[in-house]
Homo-oligomer: 177 residues x 2
């Protein structure tokens, strides 16, 4: 199951894809969508939307994972973040992806072991979890997006485990009958 993590921002939008598999998640691809060169806000949103749809079509993830924020520096930054996030929500709906949202400290906890890890710690732990060698460039926003995808894989690992137990139990039940 392939998961696309997205860390939206109107100037830099990070994205990262991992493949959830029994031996632990595998790195697929990651990058950033940069819109600083585009003057107008609506054209920036259009670029973010277009790129996210292109990434979904190229890598065919089944799930999109996002952070769900509860605070913002101020109302204007909440509006801007809402607008950028909306491009990811729209792309997920247009391509029928399952959507999951996690609080930022849950993502940090899942990846770095505590809820207050800084960006460098997150990047280090993401690299380690996915076995990326030091030569491979990884932008901070791309690392954040991979962290969100990894958080989702961590959460669903438990669910899969439960599901597989129940499936086995049902199987043995049918044998017994």
């Amino acid at each position: 199951m392939r998961v696309l993590g997205v860390d939206p921002g109107s100037v830099v939008c990070g994205w990262g894809l991992v493949e959830g598999q029994p031996g632990g998640p595998r790195y697929v691809a990651a990058g950033t969508i940069r819109t600083a060169a585009i003057k107008r806000g609506p054209s920036r949103l259009k670029k973010i939307h277009e790129e996210l749809v292109r990434i979904i079509d190229e890598f065919t993830p089944a799930t999109l994972a996002l952070e769900r924020h509860f605070i913002a520096a101020n109302v204007q930054s909440a509006f801007r973040l809402g607008e950028a996030r909306a491009m990811a929500l729209l792309a997920a709906a247009e391509r029928s992806l399952e959507l999951f949202e996690y609080p930022p400290n849950a993502v940090k906890l899942a990846v770095a072991g505590h809820g207050h890890a800084d960006k460098e710690q997150i990047k280090y732990m993401v690299r380690r979890a996915l076995g990326l060698d030091a030569g491979e460039a990884l932008a901070t926003d791309a690392a954040d997006a991979l962290a969100i995808a990894l958080c989702h894989c961590g959460r669903t690992r438990g669910a899969h485990f439960t599901e597989s137990i129940e499936r086995n139990r049902a199987d043995s039940g049918s044998i017994a009958r």
Copy 2:
């Protein structure tokens, strides 16, 4: 010049089209996009986006006008409003519409003569300005969207006037040569 006013909301999104013309703006169409029956937020956004693009394609406005908010009840409502607004911004960018934003009290001032008019007053003044007869149904959110479009027409009337003066002056200049 046709103007599409949009009053975005995640549950009800109002829209209204007016044609700016020398004798005063003319009513073209108005309505609401209602998404209450759709459970998931991303699917609501998709519906708003799809409908706005359909309206633009059907009525071919040159301009999209929106309110620019500076306050919100709280951060969560700012996120939700930002997400709904983003669908209008994206549709404008995708169809290469000019975009104009006005503070809510500028819209009220333009339509009702003072910046603190309530929704019923706005609706009454919109009906009067566009000569809509009492039999024609007009949802409150559609009236708000028409008010935004009317505000834009009021703003640009001055600009058109200046432009026409300058054009005449240039014409007479060419005659004199």
